[in-house]
């Protein structure tokens, strides 16, 4: 018995339906309904079917200082992004300025997460597509070395997060305004050695994704945070049409679009379809990658800017190297000290947190009352922002490939969805807006 059966129904009046009841090798639950009539796509409905957990309601009345620990539970794989972004929003609301060391530790914890999370997506979800396998479990013995290296890279990211943030998933050291633990020299030395040991492996994987010929070109607006050191944390929002917006005005440029069949709300940017994530970051910000990364990837970097959605995978592969290189530099050049952090003072205020999570721009807006409780909040995650674009890309893919068999088409569609690296856990847990 298969509980996740997908079905393709062909009716006798030229109408065809494809139902993918459970998209696999992505984070969380999603499904897809497609109707084709007379060689035209009637509709594509990408349904985020992850059941809502109503975080937007649940955060109301909670203590702002402990809120990051709660919202980190929105997502298992990118919990450090939620933790960091929520902390930033609370700090801004309380007008608290963290120390340089805290910011540095936050960058490093984001790097650890990104190495781990990109590895999960690239090597466990996408690599089987490139090698024509169903699963990483199906690779044969001749490919053991490659798989070993994939896990070694993922492990290095995991260990970097553990040393900096306590745990890779629902980290324990990161708090509003500080890190409760400062990494010791012997710990950082060990992590640096591990990161150095996997650096060449990362480059070999970049080559694999560079040589991959998957292609679907789209005219969409690419949006990302531009940071001077490609660190995902601080900077200005820019897009491929030349907009440049301070972080705290991001919301003004978005329009929310209710998608009735999906448990998530979609978004447009300035009324246009747009894309966030590694492809956007690489298209807009590749000049700011670490110098060692640029030196060793110039051949691959020539692919950007790119309109090919599958280049999101290549962009993630290159970003993995950047995370490794910049982490090595930061860890080798910094002497971490126990420091006295100014205590956080509670006051009423509003704050915005914004950073680049592995899958794209993550936004938190929080309003806090004078006793430090959350009045209301708004959280916008990358997958919501990519949902409209994903549907349009699927329409294009189907119309370009109507000659293919259903089975092939179904495979191609899943492959395309995976290229966006959607995270359904993140996407499904919010109401549209919650004003009080």
């Amino acid at each position: 018995m298969h509980i996740d059966d997908s079905s393709i129904i062909t009716t006798n009046n030229g109408k065809e339906e494809i139902k993918l009841d459970n998209i696999t090798k992505i984070e969380g639950h999603g499904s897809l309904d497609i109707k084709i009539k007379d060689n035209k796509v009637k509709y594509v409905k990408l349904k985020i079917t992850e059941n809502k957990r109503f975080y937007t309601q649940a955060i109301i009345g909670k203590s702002a200082l402990s809120l990051p620990l709660m919202t980190s539970r929105i997502c298992g794989t990118c919990s450090i992004a939620h933790l960091s972004c929520c902390s930033e929003a609370v700090e801004k609301a309380l007008q608290y300025v963290p120390t340089d060391q805290t910011i540095l530790l936050r960058k490093l914890s984001l790097y650890g997460m990104t190495i781990r999370d990109h590895s999960l997506h690239l090597y466990l979800f996408c690599l089987p597509d490139i090698f024509g396998k169903d699963s990483v479990l199906d690779f044969d013995e001749s490919q053991n070395e490659m798989i070993k290296r994939a896990f070694a890279i993922k492990s290095a990211g995991n260990n970097l997060s553990k040393v900096i943030a306590g745990r890779a998933i629902h980290a324990t050291f990161a708090e509003v305004g500080k890190f409760s633990h400062v990494p010791k020299q012997e710990e950082t030395k060990k992590v640096v050695a591990e990161l150095k040991s996997i650096r060449d492996y990362v480059i070999d994987f970049i080559e694999i994704f560079y040589n991959c010929d998957f292609k679907l070109e789209r005219d969409t607006d690419f949006v990302s945070l531009q940071t001077s050191d490609y660190s995902f944390l601080e900077g200005t929002i820019i897009d491929s049409k030349g907009e440049s917006i301070p972080e705290d005005r991001y919301w003004d440029y978005l329009n929310d679009v209710v998608i009735p069949y999906s448990e998530a709300t979609g978004y447009n940017f300035e009324g246009r379809e747009y894309m966030v994530g590694a492809l956007s970051r690489m298209n807009l910000n590749k000049d700011n990658l670490h110098s060692s990364t640029k030196n060793d990837t110039s051949r691959f970097l020539s692919a950007f800017p790119s309109r090919n959605i599958y280049h999101n995978n290549l962009a993630q592969a290159i970003e993995t190297l950047h995370c490794v290189d910049h982490s090595i530099e930061l860890l080798e050049s910094t002497e971490f000290k126990e420091e006295h952090n100014e205590p956080v003072t509670i006051k009423a205020g509003e704050g915005i947190g914004l950073l680049e999570a592995p899958r794209g721009t993550l936004y938190y807006m929080l309003s806090i009352d004078k006793i430090g409780k959350v009045k209301y909040g708004r959280i916008i995650v990358p997958t919501q922002q990519n949902q409209i674009g994903m549907e349009k890309s699927i329409v294009q893919l189907i119309e370009d490939n109507l000659n293919k068999s259903k089975k092939q088409l179904e495979f191609e569609i899943e492959k395309l969805i995976r290229a966006y690296d959607p995270c359904m856990s993140c996407a499904s847990h919010f109401l549209r807006i919650n004003w009080r």
């Binding site: 018995m1 298969h2 509980i3 996740d4 459970n22 696999t24 090798k25 984070e27 969380g28 639950h29 992850e50 059941n51 809502k52 957990r53 109503f54 975080y55 309601q57 649940a58 109301i60 709660m70 539970r73 929105i74 997502c75 298992g76 794989t77 919990s79 781990r116 999960l120 466990l124 169903d134 699963s135 990483v136 479990l137 199906d138 053991n144 798989i147 070993k148 896990f151 070694a152 993922k154 492990s155 995991n158 553990k162 040393v163 306590g166 890779a168 998933i169 629902h170 009735p260 448990e263 899943e414 856990s425 109401l431 919650n434």
Partner: protein, 184 residues
Amino acid sequence: MLYRASRKITKLYSFIYWYLIVTGKKLKIGWFSFTCCEDSTMVWIELMNENFFKWKDLLDIRHARVLRKINKLENIDVAFVEGAITTESDARKLRSIRKNSKKLVAIGSCAINGMPAAQRNLFDEEQKKEIEFLVERFKQTDKVRTVKDIVSIDDEVLGCPMEEDVFLKILDKYLNEFGVINAH
């Protein structure tokens, strides 16, 4: 300290496994995820960094949507179930997992005590009113339930995310119980 201790235990386990006799028989497992943030799935996948090839020899992973498209829900020795149950259709799926599995292990906080996925159970009237139309539209049940509320379980791994060492011990227990590895 904790990190080191857990690394040591993980290493000790891999050491033991290499010296165990692999009978060729595999433990047929399924990994299932309901409403949650899938953090325990991530921990399971992180444990593969060190255990992947060993588990490839010892486990027949018949159902794991996160790893493969072609999944089978039949004749499972041990089902690992993460997440809380928010809809009747998920409850039906869970019952069918129970029916097709000899043992069922609840994984992580949401599966075991419902939280934080069940946070709406604690909402006040005003909050409930706000989410009412969505609970209805997506056919969620009035209350979010735990795995135990729906089916019987044989073991549980607490934690948010699950405790790695407890999971490894339980897996080890079933590898022995089903005769996949023989310590002597």
